[in-house]
């Protein structure tokens, strides 16, 4: 078919048809964009959500994104590359608006050279007389089509469905054991070369947990080491992507959960810790005690960004936790302290030495079991003293070394440099009586020895 020459004269019927045709094409483009937009945003949201949740990797995310964009471009190309011209349609619309009885359609579709010129000129003249009946902006405004509404609703429904499915999955999925969770995380971490050693450690821990080859103490040790390793990874590679950070955080959380689980078990068994039916007056003290050493474990709070309660259920039980009131700081301290306690078992002399120097373990005071009343010998007149333990049905006895450490921690009032042990734990002889400060160095008799002496 011969191409119809484009009429350039302003106000000609053909020009009006061409303008409307262009307008319709723009409308079609808008329609396409509006139809594609809701699924695009829904897709982006879901992809980002799944990526953040580490369900899909960055590569998969990129691939899916590219595939989506490709599909959209293909759809658009197919839509607009069709040979069907919009000119007859535009002419029909104008005919309807102007009640022109197909005058514009005939003008727009007929080839003038194939038609009698006199009749064609007459038809143009008739059509031109009807031009003032049509105003493109008034008669053909853009209106949002139903397809957009449908697309929007479907996209929204898909997003809601995704959340619903995830929620249902979380509700009804069987709870994975910590070892399996750790193994799963280890697999994910192993995909990053830098984290492969950590992944191996996690996997090894998971396997050992599975086979029940770990004692509680060993487990704690390993968990603490791994937590430190994770913390180190987080600190040393802050430029890591969110997904890696999330993975590490998940691993940290899993380890903490594991540790908490152990604590709970112990608690349920009633093992360890100081148990007393005394009114809990040590709460404030506990808070005080944890203050001094909180700094060292602040970084651990990164692992628990979600703010969910964790740790805190240590061997000392909840009595301590309720009194601490320091949130994550205190919890982190507990963990370190326990670890240190394990390591330093049987190294009392070293501990004492470092304590005297004031530079050794920062958490010396934390090694004192909290929740227990202070030893009777440290009570000032008018304070608890002997009367304080009268009502107690049982007491936990501490070794003098530990007591010494605790007292040294309390005595400095939070200032490590001013450490002056009140209870000598060494066998250094007392100063002579004529020494000016001799009276001040009276050694109180520990309770536990009184019976022996008697």
């Amino acid at each position: 078919m011969e191409e119809r020459p484009l009429a350039k004269e302003a106000g000609s019927p053909e020009l009006l048809v061409d303008r409307l045709s262009l307008r319709l094409k723009k409308h079609a483009l808008w329609d396409l964009l509006l139809v594609l937009c809701p699924p695009f945003f829904a897709f982006s949201y879901m992809a980002f959500y799944l990526h953040r949740a580490a369900w899909i990797g960055q590569g998969a995310l990129l691939f899916a994104g590219m595939a989506w964009i490709g599909a959209a471009v293909l759809l658009g190309a197919l839509r607009f590359s069709s040979p069907t011209s919009t000119t007859p349609l535009a002419a029909r619309f104008i005919d309807e608006k102007a009640d022109a009885k197909e005058r514009f359609l005939t003008l727009a579709t007929l080839v003038p050279s194939h038609s009698p010129s006199s009749l064609f000129a007459r038809l143009r003249q008739e059509a031109a007389a009807l031009l003032d009946r049509v105003d493109l902006s008034r008669d053909f405004p853009y209106r949002v089509k139903r397809s957009f509404v449908a697309s929007f609703i479907v996209s929204l429904a898909v997003i809601l469905l995704l959340h619903l499915v995830l929620l249902m999955g979380a509700l009804f999925a069987p709870q994975e054991s910590p070892s399996k969770e750790l193994a799963l995380l280890a697999e994910k971490l192993a995909q990053t070369p830098r984290l492969q050693s950590l992944a191996r450690s996690l996997k090894s821990l998971a396997e050992r947990l599975e086979k029940d080859k770990l004692s509680d103490a060993e487990k704690r040790t390993v968990v603490q080491e791994l937590l430190k390793e994770i913390e180190k990874q987080l600190q040393t590679n802050p430029q890591d992507g969110e997904s890696k950070k999330d993975l590490l955080s998940q691993a940290g959380n899993a380890l903490q959960k594991l540790e908490q689980g152990e604590g709970k078990e112990q608690e349920q068994k009633g093992g360890g810790g100081i148990k007393t039916n005394l009114p809990d007056e040590s709460a404030g003290k506990g808070g005080k005690q944890s203050k001094g050493s909180g700094e060292g474990n602040q970084s651990n709070s990164r692992l628990t960004e979600s703010g969910e309660p964790k740790g805190g259920k240590s061997a000392q039980g909840e009595t301590k936790e309720s009194g601490v009131g320091q949130g994550d700081k205190g919890k982190g301290e507990d963990r370190d302290d326990r670890l240190k306690d394990e390591k330093q078992k049987g190294k009392e002399s070293e501990t004492a030495k470092s304590d005297q120097e004031g530079k050794g373990s920062k958490n010396t005071s934390e090694e004192i079991p909290r929740g227990a009343p202070p030893a009777d010998r440290f009570a000032k007149p008018g304070e608890q003293g002997e009367g304080g333990i009268k009502g107690a049905r049982f007491v936990t006895v501490e070794l003098p070394e530990a007591e010494a450490e605790r007292s040294s921690g309390e005595g400095r009032s939070g200032k490590r440099k001013a450490v002056q042990p009140k209870v000598p734990v060494s066998n250094v002889p007392l100063r002579p009586a004529d020494f000016p400060e001799a009276s001040a160095e009276k050694q109180p008799l520990p309770l536990e020895y009184r019976g022996l002496i008697r």
Binding site: E102, R103, L119, F120
Partner: protein, 328 residues
């Protein structure tokens, strides 16, 4: 010829025929459109509705030669086309061709379905080829040439329904219906009084040339390709062949034996062009097409037994098609 002149001639003819015929405005218009399109018309209606009067009035208004043939069962083809007769002159005898009534500008074939198919087919060549062959000799028919046939739909005993081939040669099939009460009153006034309305000749002596120019102008009327496409799709949709699911309407498959021939599409286009000129336009609109669909196609759709049994007419099938067929 200018479109305005065409319209003047058409309006004059229409007005003159309306002097004799009361009502049937649409029939008169369609007959005139068919005439300017160069087609033949089959008028169907019960006796006494003025079919013959209509044709006679038309021929009178045209001022053209007019012949009437009353079709009867014993009518022979030679009675229509003419025959060789032995003529004596100048002392010797020779066969001379004596022209039949077909040699006229306007031929009225009254009650065409009463003649035998052999006789009916005698007009086939004349209608389509506009020529007559007798004893191997061909005689052209003078233009303009138009056959107006009538048939009675009720007295079917002793009749011979027109074969499909002959039906297809009619440009339009028009249904002449009973007049409305007010029209009947006017008919009574005109026909039972003293005064008798005479149809005057509209076209001058050289009117045949003017008619030829009018026919040429009609064929020049502009029609947009989408409208032609609509006609093509419509005619194609009347074909009952093919799988049932492919039909636009189920009636086509259920009630038709044969669909329209290409002549149906030609009739629609030419008729629409004529209608457009009459309406004062030089281009065809959908309205023009729809105005001529029924007379163009109703006799070209061959109904099957089921349609007859269920009293389904071709017009009903066409109405369903028009309703269902999209314009673009």
């Amino acid at each position: 010829m200018e479109p305005e002149k065409f319209r003047d001639i058409f309006s004059s003819l229409e007005a003159e025929v309306k002097k004799a015929i009361v009502g049937h405005d649409d029939v008169i218009r369609k007959v005139l459109i068919a005439f300017f399109s160069g087609g033949h018309v089959l008028l169907e209606g019960v006796p006494g509705l003025g079919k013959t009067l209509l044709v006679k009035s038309l021929s009178g208004a045209f001022g053209l030669s007019f012949k009437r043939v009353q079709f009867t069962p014993d009518l022979m083809p030679s009675d229509i086309v003419g025959t060789q007769v032995l003529a004596e002159g100048d002392g010797h005898r020779e066969f001379q061709f004596r022209k039949g009534p077909i040699f006229a500008h306007v031929v009225l074939a009254d009650e065409i379905n009463r003649a035998t198919p052999k006789t009916q087919s005698a007009v086939l060549e004349a209608m389509e080829e506009r020529q007559v062959t007798v004893f191997g000799e061909t005689f052209p028919l003078e233009a303009p040439f138009m056959v107006l046939a009538t048939q009675n739909p009720i007295e079917l005993e002793g009749t011979y329904p027109l074969p499909e081939a002959q039906l297809d040669r009619f440009f339009f099939k028009l249904l002449v219906t009973s007049p409305q009460p007010n029209e009947l009153t006017e008919i009574l006034h005109r026909t039972t009084g003293v005064e008798v309305q005479e149809v005057a000749r509209v076209l001058p002596k050289n009117g045949a040339r003017a008619l030829e120019e009018s026919q040429l102008l009609l064929r020049q009327v502009l029609i947009a390709p989408p409208l032609e496409d609509y006609v093509v799709r419509l005619v194609h949709a009347t074909q009952p062949t093919g799988q049932k699911g492919n039909h636009l309407v189920s009636e086509v498959k259920d009630y038709l034996r044969f669909g329209s021939s290409p002549r149906g599409a030609q009739a629609i286009i030419l008729g629409a062009k004529g209608n457009a000129l009459v309406e004062g336009r030089v281009h065809v609109s959908y309205e023009d097409i729809e105005a001529v669909i029924y007379p163009s196609l109703r006799h070209r759709l061959i109904l099957n037994f089921q349609a007859d049994a269920e009293n389904v007419s071709a017009d009903q099938i066409l109405a369903a098609l028009i309703k269902k067929l999209p314009r673009d």
